[in-house]
Symmetry: C2
Subunit: 439 residues, 2 copies
């Protein structure tokens, strides 16, 4: 630690106007930086990763449909042409609101205005010991680890002869019936059934069981009921057992207890809950049950002038009383709004009060079924999948990713090939199912 | 460990003819399996990875030009249509030649004929402590770790202000002037200079120093002298300092001693030597200095009837007295030969004595220079690069990879974009330059 992060560097670059620091290079942080492009401010974007991640497609990496580089783009490249931005790879450890310093492992960074967009991690409702047993996916590393775990289970099942062990290896339980859970269930069912059937000698589709468990009364609670039912029917057609109104009460290395029933499985995947990043703790600010910072109607933090929190880290109550949803378009719009608000202090146009434009909800179930709730339109079948694909590719940041993802999808769709089916990681053993049945 | 690997499974599949076990899914192992396609034998291919790796392009992964999935293909997919092959993901721990058993972490596998094609790792000439300081690239994980290390050095250099630390972060030393070292030096120079120049604010091309160090008198000793000189000139034009006849005598976390000169650097990359896998030890067979098993002119191991060793694990003396080179085409040809030889015992045509067909040597230096030594042809410039690309893509195993690599290369060439520039890995800290200058 030399404590000199940015100080020499940025001051020598000439510090015009205010120092705006953005923490987090997700949808919210990037949008805020872009909205400040013409403002006479010096923006520093800090992230502990060097890339922006298209999180809605993480489940495709976890199920071997896409490679990490397809859904990630270096933050530097995205902001390359914006002269008033510096990008710093650093892990934030705290915020000194008195001295107006963001503390990082590389040294402190001073700010006049601070925009926090640090997202969320999955949460286990107080059962933190489940994290190791039922991984969730929020980062690239989560996704590649889960991919290794799923593929390793198939490899192991191919060569073990004990029917009980084999059954546990070929049973996949996804916990949580929101969009991520639904998408994962569809993709796991496809991966396991179709690919395994082609490449493995001893595993047949009927050997594989995929369960989707949701504690609430229906899947996709954000959608209308008819949409939820359509998604459940589509999953059932794909061979996924959907269990709603059923809670997971216990997870061990080789079984899960679902609504009182014990199910032998080495593959539990968590898609049931998230918890906001540590921003609330850094600020000493008031947070909600999920750790999100309670913000005002301009995303400012009460009693912390000059600090804004956006995206999954913020609890924002809309004018109609409902909470702003924790999805990419909402984070993006909040980033645009806060960026414009800060810019307006330096001569930019004052933005109108924030109002979330709801473009609707989309969730995909396997290769050819998507539920799209645009208020009036519901799309299913290949057209629905195509709309979903186009919408996702459109929002991917870099052209390279758009091109790559589109060609991968087309290839995957036409051939059932899965391109990224590699078990990597220095410790393949990490992905191993536990040896609990060993003598 | 349930000790039942394959036994139940394979016996129930009906064991026609002999049990042939192949260890290793590289160029040699895959070729051997394919050559046995029509033989009435039961082939088991064991690898500790689930994918075949196109090793000649690993340096592209390490320098962020390609993604891991572009140069790897699942072994199961490659051999999907060959009914007499079983693929097992397992780590081999030893061979019991008396009982004719391959011992793995998943249990033993019996064989009648054994083909060992387990490749090589990089070697440090007895200085094993250098491995952590000067990583080499032989596996996907090696390559992604090196990629993270290189990218992290640039990120760190962007934000530190101490000129000495910055210089060490921006100095890259590649040890070893064979094809891998030459290709790495060219790719690192390109990555650091062109991409850094575009995406970083404080790093300019002149800040970056790339050194290629070779202890022998010239680069690419396998090529004719004029080719070696051409490669050295091309590297020099790209800004790489080439030092031949110069040995590395010491490596520490923040410096390297090259021909007596102390060079401050956090980035030493090893491409100087390899050592064969543990096969010699497993067999108790006679090995050469590099650990390669001395084999007869049909790749059989003396005193071990029914056991063959091929590829980088074997020391094979050709009829003209020279050793068979440790490159992909040689491993592939050896695999084809041994597979055919084993098949011939069951009615296949007896192959002619092994004779290596030398298709020449190819090495690329950056984006538009390749040296191709086909005996009479030498290609440089864009045509050389194009031939090199086509040759490599042609030999990539799966169509998906061919398609992906070709489109990536075209894209990269036209735009200077680097598609896979992500720093991943659960512990980014692993990639960090050491903190030796910290107070």
């Amino acid at each position: 630690m030399d404590g000199t992060l940015m100080s020499g560097t940025l001051s020598s670059a000439g510090m015009a106007g205010q120092r705006v620091v953005i923490i987090g290079g997700g949808f919210g942080g990037i949008a805020a930086a872009r909205a400040l492009a013409r403002a006479p401010v010096q923006v520093t974007l800090i992230d502990r990763r060097n890339f922006h991640l298209f999180q809605p497609l993480l489940y495709q990496v976890a199920t071997a449909g896409l490679s990490p580089a397809d859904i990630g783009a270096p933050i530097r490249s995205i902001l390359r042409d914006q002269g008033n931005v510096r990008v710093a790879l650093a892990k934030v450890t705290g915020i000194d609101t008195g001295a107006r310093l963001v503390e990082t492992e590389e040294g402190p960074v001073g700010y006049d205005t601070l925009i926090i967009a640090t997202g969320a991690r999955h949460a286990y409702f107080g059962r933190d010991e489940w994290e190791a047993l039922a991984p969730g996916i929020k980062t690239i590393d989560d996704a590649t680890r889960l991919r290794a775990k799923l593929l390793f289970a198939l490899e192991r099942a191919e060569i073990v002869s004990d029917p009980k062990r084999r059954k546990a290896l070929l049973t996949f339980v996804i916990v949580g019936g929101g969009p991520t859970g639904v998408e994962l269930a569809g993709a796991v069912a496809e991966l396991a059934r179709h690919v395994a059937d082609r490449d493995f000698r001893t595993i047949t589709p009927k050997d594989i069981q995929v369960l989707l468990v949701e504690a609430g009364p229906r899947l996709l609670p954000q959608f209308r009921e008819s949409m939820s039912a359509a998604a459940a029917r589509a999953l059932t057609r794909m061979g996924v057992e959907v269990r709603t109104g059923t809670a997971v009460t216990e997870i061990t290395p080789d079984q899960v207890v679902v609504g009182g029933e014990v199910i032998a499985t080495n593959n539990v995947i968590w898609a049931a809950g998230v918890r906001a990043s540590a921003a609330g703790r850094w600020l000493g600010a008031e947070v909600d049950r999920a750790g999100r910072v309670l913000v005002g109607n301009d995303f400012s933090v009460p009693h912390h002038p000059g600090i804004f929190v956006i995206g999954d880290t913020a609890a924002y109550r809309q004018a109609d009383g409902t909470m702003l949803p924790g999805i990419a378009p909402a984070a993006k719009q909040a980033g645009e709004f806060v960026g414009a608000l800060v810019a307006s202090r330096f001569g930019g146009r004052t933005p109108r009060p924030f109002e979330y434009r709801d473009f609707g909800q989309l969730a995909t179930v396997g290769r050819n079924f998507a539920v799209a709730d645009f208020g009036r339109i519901r799309l299913t079948g290949f057209p629905g999948w195509l709309l979903w694909s186009v919408a996702h590719v459109w929002f991917l940041v870099g052209f390279r990713s758009r091109f790559s993802v589109a060609s991968q999808w087309l290839w995957s769709y036409l051939t059932w090939e899965r391109g990224a089916r590699l078990i990597t990681g220095a410790e393949v053993a990490m992905a191993r199912p536990p040896e609990t049945n060993a003598p």
